[in-house]
């Protein structure tokens, strides 16, 4: 366990180093000077001298390992920054300041996290419920009209991109019928839990549809396999009701691999549901990531990347631990 945590921390450093390298080394290989880099963070009318001052202020003139060292030191011990308006202390863990807006990254991220968590967890609940239920029914009625219809919809679900289904549902249900909240409603500003859910309903459904489609197919395949196992025959031979045979014996076995993938999917989404957040203008981590990348704002990119990586690593850990809980054969070995 301790070994895994240490491994996770090392992995986070590697991730950040890679992002750092891509940001600084790739433009330099392309022949860009330090001033070219800095010119992105000043006004259009700025002169060469001003740009050079900015490059010095952002630390671009230092060797790259010094810059990386500063970044790591900020996380471990905190850092002081001076963007012209006096020295500001950024306590550990400090992910630095935006090159462009000079806002500290971490508070921004923490501010946006609840939106992403709301979106991801609600959608996860919906897709797990919907996808698994649909998959089980499809498997039990294999070849029926129900099976073929749902699998057709599922195929459409995994093929259609969020920005298509999202915009389509927005135009129908929000702007056409007025049933759901229009895009851009921040769920964290909601006054009641009911309002919170109302604002998130369409993003939830849109995001859940994509995953539910995949989970339905996965569950169906798993159920078709487990329902042919010998222990299902044994369960029937005991005289169990068919419902118990399906749920307690069939689904219980089919659920194990689904749980694994679910953990990883959820971890991935907590690092930002980029397409959904962008489509519905939700101020979450994903939207922040898009801004960071389009603005070439390294500290923000690094912050988002590290947060996302941390979620995936934690999800992996949790899944491994869970696996031992759900499959006793893993526990033994």
């Amino acid at each position: 366990m301790i070994r895994r945590v240490i491994g996770a921390i090392i992995l986070l450093f590697i991730v950040s180093a890679v992002v750092f390298a891509i940001f600084f080394l790739v433009p330099r290989i392309g022949g860009a000077s330090v001033d070219d880099l800095a010119s992105r963070y000043v006004g259009k009318s700025a002169g060469a001298e001003q740009i050079h001052q900015t490059a010095i202020r952002l630390g671009f003139t230092d060797p790259i390992w010094v810059q990386y060292g500063r970044f790591v030191k900020g996380i471990v011990a905190g850092a002081d920054y001076n963007y012209g308006a006096g020295i500001e202390h950024c306590p550990a863990p400090c992910l630095g300041y935006s090159f462009l807006t000079q806002n500290p990254v971490l508070p921004d991220l923490l501010d946006r996290l609840p939106v992403t968590i709301s979106l991801a967890s609600g959608a996860a609940f919906l897709w797990l419920l919907g996808g698994v239920a649909t998959g089980v029914l499809s498997a039990l009625r294999r070849g029926s009209v129900l099976d073929r219809t749902t699998m057709g919809i599922a195929l459409a679900g995994v093929s259609l991109p969020i920005f298509f289904t999202g915009l389509l549902s927005l135009s129908i249900f929000s702007y056409g019928l007025g049933w759901t909240a229009p895009g851009g409603a921040n769920p964290m500003d909601a006054s009641t839990p009911w309002d919170w859910a109302y604002r998130l309903l369409l993003p939830w459904i849109t995001l859940a549809f994509l995953y539910a489609a995949a989970y339905a197919r996965l569950t169906r395949a798993g159920m078709l396999e487990t329902m042919n196992e010998d222990y299902i025959r044994t369960a029937r031979a005991k005289g169990l009701r068919e419902r118990d045979v399906v749920v307690k014996h069939g689904l219980r076995a089919a659920l194990t691999p689904i749980l694994t993938i679910f953990g990883l999917d959820l971890g991935l989404l907590l690092g930002g549901a980029i397409l959904t957040e962008t489509t519905f203008s939700l101020p979450g981590i994903g939207q922040y990531a898009v801004q960071a990348v389009t603005n070439n704002d390294l500290p923000k990119v690094l912050g988002v990347t590290l947060l996302g990586a941390a979620f995936i690593i934690v999800a992996n850990l949790v899944v491994d631990l869970l696996y031992a809980v759900v499959d006793p054969r893993v526990r033994a070995s």
């Binding site: 222990y231 029937r236 005991k238 169990l240």
Partner: protein
């Protein structure tokens, strides 16, 4: 309980075809199968897995059903248990469990009998037990389906059952998972599970095939002892004549979904009447034979159950089919009583069979 309605149904069937040559079920039969047909429609054609099978099992007796793979042994046991997937199978004939008709019975009715009055042990105990539940949990589940008792009571019963099938320290082993048991222990646990509701009919489908040879005898002994204790009717399904020799009171030999010979075990071993049975016995290794003597396999392979050979399904492989003046090729041999309580399906006359037995078979077996 024997219902008069079901008895009347037998009287309406014709004595030869309807009763599969066996006549009305004897009074002491707990399970009576008559002219059972189990067919599976598939894309390739109709699979006649069981085609006119009849037998009886009484309480306290063991019937061994013997045959090659694909002879319909397992399909028969699954039919008795009502375990075929509805919609995939066509069943006709009669299966009477203590006078209650199971063919065409409501699926809930059969389910209520399953596990309670009839139970089954399967071939591979590792795959037949759920890997995610403890052995105890699975026995508790089997018991509580049919008994309205608390978990604690059922758990005590599970420990008790594990002890009775010879699992050491049942109190701690009850919480183990199947993968923590050895193969023999697992089969013991399966037996404990099957017997947890004290069933009157126990079907053991190749119960020792997946086990070490050293463990096989122990499991067979256990089944024998428990049968004496519970006085249940037992059907033992196997391709291994050695296993039936050990346990069975009666033997039913199956070929291509049909019964070819049916009699008391000692009768089958001492005075077999049917060419297929002769072939089976000749292909069995014997301890009392010189090692230099070679086993004699039956030539050819079992027939497809979709295009079963005409007449006697065994005739393409039978060395004596030519003696019947073409009857074996054209007409299905009736299942008939040739000696007291000894039925066979064969066109050979009793004189021919006696002649072949005396001159060719007797000294080779």
């Amino acid at each position: 309980m024997t219902s008069t309605v079901d008895r009347a149904r037998f009287d309406s069937l014709s004595p030869v075809e309807g009763l599969g040559g066996l006549g009305r079920p004897p009074a002491d039969a707990f399970l009576s199968v008559r002219d059972l047909q189990v067919h599976f429609p598939t894309d390739d054609g109709l699979v006649r897995s069981v085609d006119g099978l009849s037998f009886d099992v009484a309480r306290g007796r063991t019937l061994g059903i013997v045959g090659e793979s694909g002879s319909g042994k397992s399909v028969t046991s699954m039919s008795v248990m009502g375990l075929h997937k509805p919609g995939t199978v066509r069943m006709s004939g009669s299966i009477l469990l203590d006078g209650q008709e199971l063919v065409g019975a409501d699926s809930d009715t059969v389910r209520a009998l399953r596990g309670k009055r009839m139970a089954m042990i399967f071939q591979d105990p590792l795959s037949a037990m759920h890997p995610f539940y403890t052995v105890g949990h699975q026995i508790v589940e089997a018991y509580r389906v049919h008994h309205n008792v608390s978990r604690a009571v059922a758990y005590k019963h599970a420990i008790d059952m594990l002890g009775r099938v010879g699992i050491p320290q049942p109190r701690s082993r009850v919480d183990d998972y199947p993968h923590q048991f050895s193969g023999g222990m697992r089969q013991r646990a399966m037996i404990a599970m099957a017997l947890s509701c004290d069933p009157e009919l126990l079907i053991a489908d190749e119960p020792t095939t997946a086990l070490d040879v050293t463990v096989q005898a122990q499991i067979l002994d256990l089944i024998r002892d428990l049968q004496a204790e519970f006085s249940s009717a037992v059907i033992l399904i196997t391709h291994d004549l050695g296993v039936v020799a050990e346990l069975a009171d009666d033997i039913l030999v199956m070929y291509a979904g049909r019964a070819v010979e049916y009699s008391a075990a000692e009768q089958i071993f001492e005075r077999p009447q049917q060419p297929y049975t002769w072939g089976l016995l000749a292909s069995m290794p014997r301890m009392d034979r010189a090692r230099t003597e070679r086993l004699r396999p039956i030539p050819g392979t079992p027939p497809s159950l979709i295009t079963v050979p005409s007449g006697c399904p065994f005739h393409p492989r039978c060395a004596y089919a030519d003696l019947t003046e073409g009857l074996s090729r054209t007409q299905r041999p009736p299942f008939r009583e040739v000696l007291a309580d000894h039925h066979i399906a064969c066109h050979l006359t009793s004189a021919q069979r006696r002649d072949i037995w005396d001159n060719e078979i007797r000294e080779t077996l």
